[in-house]
Symmetry: C2
Amino acid sequence: MREIAELSKICASLAKSDLSVEMLDVMISEFSRHGLSGDFARKIFSLVLEERGRYGGEGTPESGLKLREFASRALELQRMGREVYRLELGEPDFTAPPSAVEAACKAIREGYSKYGPANGIKELRAAIASKLSERFGLDLKPDNIAVTAGGTFAVYGSIEAVTGLGDEVIVIEPAWPLYAHQVRWLGRRPKIIKTRFEDNWDPVNMIQEKVSRLTKLIILNYPNNPTGRVLDERSIRAIIEIAEDYGAWILSDEVYMDFCYRDGFESILKLGTERTIMVNSFSKTWGMTGFRVGYVVSDPETAARVARAQNTAITCIPEFVQRAALAALNDEESARRNVELIGMRLRILYEELSRSRLIEVRPPEGAMYIFPRINVEGFDSWRFAWKLLEEKGVAIAPGACFGQSYNNHLRISAVLDEKPLREACRRIREAVEEYC
Amino acid sequence: MREIAELSKICASLAKSDLSVEMLDVMISEFSRHGLSGDFARKIFSLVLEERGRYGGEGTPESGLKLREFASRALELQRMGREVYRLELGEPDFTAPPSAVEAACKAIREGYSKYGPANGIKELRAAIASKLSERFGLDLKPDNIAVTAGGTFAVYGSIEAVTGLGDEVIVIEPAWPLYAHQVRWLGRRPKIIKTRFEDNWDPVNMIQEKVSRLTKLIILNYPNNPTGRVLDERSIRAIIEIAEDYGAWILSDEVYMDFCYRDGFESILKLGTERTIMVNSFSKTWGMTGFRVGYVVSDPETAARVARAQNTAITCIPEFVQRAALAALNDEESARRNVELIGMRLRILYEELSRSRLIEVRPPEGAMYIFPRINVEGFDSWRFAWKLLEEKGVAIAPGACFGQSYNNHLRISAVLDEKPLREACRRIREAVEEYC
């Protein structure tokens, strides 16, 4: 019991000290001298980090999760008969193409509704592998693919696959709130990078500054939600180099890959060598959000690990959903039309919002969003969003959902047709003027 | 750095010592004297337990997971044109009722394929709450329910909801292999109870012996997979009492609730007070395994936690799947027919297997399985299963899948019609005789 008293004293002292990577190295070597594993040392180190309050101290997942409540209120107003322009969610207004709908129904009727493989049916994995290979000049095989419950599980399962308890994961803000939330949920530690509007959201130098030997994974998302930024090949190559120097993995969430409205973007698949995972989804390109089907592309072993994570959590996803995805994949015409539609609307959003002297906006490069800065002293994005919804009947996502530092931004989704979109923008401009 | 040397010495010494609950108590109080949290103390304690190799030391999840490979081989033989009697999986041979198939297709066509609430659509939660309330004389509300990606996520999310890293979870073997696997996967520690054929699989005394203040959850599964045992009300009440004494939760996986062929079974919902979670699924009763839809019933806060876990991992499940489940729920006729069918086949299995002097079998009480003991010296259930498959064209699940101690058992699923079922049993008897 004397040992325990001593242990608690040391832990308390460590929790107050400046924990460095060098200290972890010493710990690993000391622990191994006593026959204890490096993994054990890393976990203890990570618990001490957690205890001192660093863990979970960065980022604002709650604000991001509050967006659902906000969207529920918008829906409620709509159902009460009020006209509401809904631009707050990352959900296209178009639905699944008829080809996918019919494929799903046919599959259900034919009884494709039994347990299936955790990594997805082979037909779909083969089709994805061959489409991507053709597009990027690669030689992917079905085993490079794991079909997942949406892009959400693709990210979740990837974090589980390539990092361990207490490992550090770099998340670049502004960001989809679920990245940092999943990282924390799984007992890993998010290291937040706060890119800036005035730097055109460039993350490269900041990654270089924050990366360390504790970093096991860097999450990229280009074309970006919420900024719409598309990173050029040179920048992505620079990030790959940093990752390689530190032995970190790169997860490139490319669910907006098709929504790219400038030249120079390359998928990580074309640039990455080892230790990369590409995440994709059928949700955006084909408007199939509620089908819950996405996938990861990586080396066969990593894809199998993601599948194992999926087997553990949900066994598998429905086969009829996968048959719908297969039909969508072959429906390039629908994809092309959807991508054009979003591009046209992004141009409208840019044009309309540029008309206000209080709204600062960059030409959209990709994804389905525009993320303007509101140049109003003391602007509060949540307060504005609620006011805008209740008084003007327009729902947008407050910038604060995507990181603490973006409270003077708004994310507006390109998910309405031209006429209502222009009207919604007019009301946003009006509300900004009145807010001052 | 001297502190780290000291820390590693203490950790190494603790990892070799006999870690008791009393020691944890001392640790919590010492840690709190130094301003550190009890949670931190518990996690450190648990890491030390893990390091000394207790963690993950019990149970045989791998054997359970190998069953999928085995089933793939059976399927392969079938596709090569061989006649294979497939009795190895927990999957009914009947498919979803036409009412559910049509509801799914209608919903997909009508565009119910958008993001939805993480806890499931209200219509389904309300219908489940009202059905169960009617059946068990309760007053459940929609908020007591969270609809999940099958029974699998219902269990996974519940473990996340009511236990923390390093907590102890009691798993009663023989058991569905995913319980212990999920517990380990989530960084909790399974405490395995090995019930015995000769005790009629009674777990009560063994739970009493193994429970401790580290126990945060007890997982029950009656009617049981694989034994088919149904626990009587008195035994379940006794387990509830133990759980209450130790402040542990009970998760009662009742996915076979409808497949109950003896009197005296009560759902935990009727008996449990606080800290209970009931898990259920549409997979078995309505043959909807591949739809991936199940649910938990608990207090509103716990149900919300399960939904939060689901939101984090997969966002939500498809709405059209939930509409199929809603239709199934109202299709009592299909449920009744399926339950009768399985009951009739269980009687056939019992009758046929009893004819061999080497096979010891108990009258089936519930679920979809029979779990006979093979009275052959040195019997190896995996070796037998492979031989039976390759030589006789019959696939069954080796007892070893459900725990190390059950290598002389077989699990046979009641998922074929009378004639092939009798023929499969004849071949099993024959193979057992030849195996000697």
